[in-house]
């Protein structure tokens, strides 16, 4: 599996799980489906970005940093549009980005290997 596809799938999965944790906040429980979809989409974009970066740069610390940064920016946008829950959205969202950044650096085939395997 190449790094972009890995980032996309893992980002979506972790995003969905992250969105699912909103269930523990009773105030937002009625909107749980929308939150999960939104969070999944956010994770998906962060995953693709981390995957593209991993294809170009081979460095685990930098991958984590880029993942954290992309996760932070996307989560900030979501929180900004929501007008609230800044910490609850931004901090876990950034960490999810960092995790995807780490995974795309450690796993997933580099672009050349993927091309050669075809």
């Amino acid at each position: 599996m190449n790094k972009i596809v890995l980032g996309l799938l893992l980002g979506a999965l972790l995003g969905a799980i992250d969105g699912g944790t909103a269930w523990f906040t009773p105030a937002v429980r009625p909107a749980i489906v929308g939150i999960i979809f939104g969070s999944t989409f956010k994770g998906l974009i962060a995953g693709v970005a981390a995957g593209i970066f991993a294809r170009k740069v081979n460095s685990v610390p930098l991958g984590i940093l880029v993942g954290l940064a992309v996760g932070f920016v996307l989560a900030f946008l979501v929180a900004y549009l929501q007008h609230g829950y800044y910490f609850e959205i931004i901090l876990p969202g950034s960490i999810v980005g960092g995790l995807v950044g780490w995974a795309t650096q450690r796993y997933g085939a580099p672009a050349t290997a993927t091309a050669a395997a075809r």
């Binding site: 523990f24 906040t25 610390p61 876990p92 960490i95 995790l99 780490w102």
Partner: protein, 339 residues
Amino acid sequence: MSRFLSDKAVERLRSAGALPELSGSRYVLQEFLARGGMGVVYAAQDKTLNRRVAIKVLDSSDSHSMLGERLMREARVLAQLEHPGIVPVHDAGTLADGRVFYVMKFVEGSRVDQFLNSASSLPERLRLFLRICETVSFAHSRGILHRDLKPSNVMVGAFGEVLVIDWGLAKILRSDSAERSEETVSLTEPLSGAVAGNGETEITSATHDGMILGTPGFMSPEQAQGKSSSLDARTDIFSLGKLLETIITPTKNTTAIRIPRTLRAICEKAAAESLSQRYASVSALAEDVSRFLDGMPVSAYCENLWERAQRFYTRYQAAILLITAYLLMRAIFVFFGRH
């Protein structure tokens, strides 16, 4: 005649007389580089291709001598081993003064023991070792044993290329239909049992059982006992084990490196006294070193539960910290959300 010349002048004349006669060849002598077991290596300029080359010239001028034959065989062995980790041979022949020579690529760089003096981390050192293993493994796949692997026989080029040099004691193992026969390419002068303790190659002229070839401290017990007929890939593996030990041992110019027990076990297994306890092939040794680098368990060491947990944590440290931070954060948000 020496009554009319100073000692220095006589010495200069002697060394000039020892220089190879390159006139009539396409090479121009530049400088002395090193002295090997039976020959001298010079830097020379290839006039035709306008490039710098290294030229190994036999000391003796008798091209039909055993030594001359052996130098030619060394050149042929090297020519067969086309690999990025082995210095390529460009030309071979006999000079006007009757000395046998061969020409190889001029490598700019430093010997691995000198290279290690510059600061390098443990993973860097291990990756360098893996490249040595690749070269030796390639030679083994061509049925050739090096038999003199040691830090001074590994060069690190200016661009980080790793080259295994001095195949003077190389041994060709051939598989015949009935039995395996051996041909040794021993390229050194007879020193009749001389034992050098300063890292110099200990050499003899022949390679039959009872003759000792190699370098003390790096040669395997079977080599030291002169059991030429029982040598196989595991002989080089022993030397690689000793070489690995040297590579991972911090030098005085480097910062202290903590050598993990796992890595020590790899060295010990590679350099085991008994042939049967060593790695069966260079690739198996390299595989263990690669696994160590990747934070995976190695075949040379049976770790306990605590060590396994430590290795798991080291391998997945970043992910474990991120997941812990995430879960902690979520727990805090849930806790404060309810109160």
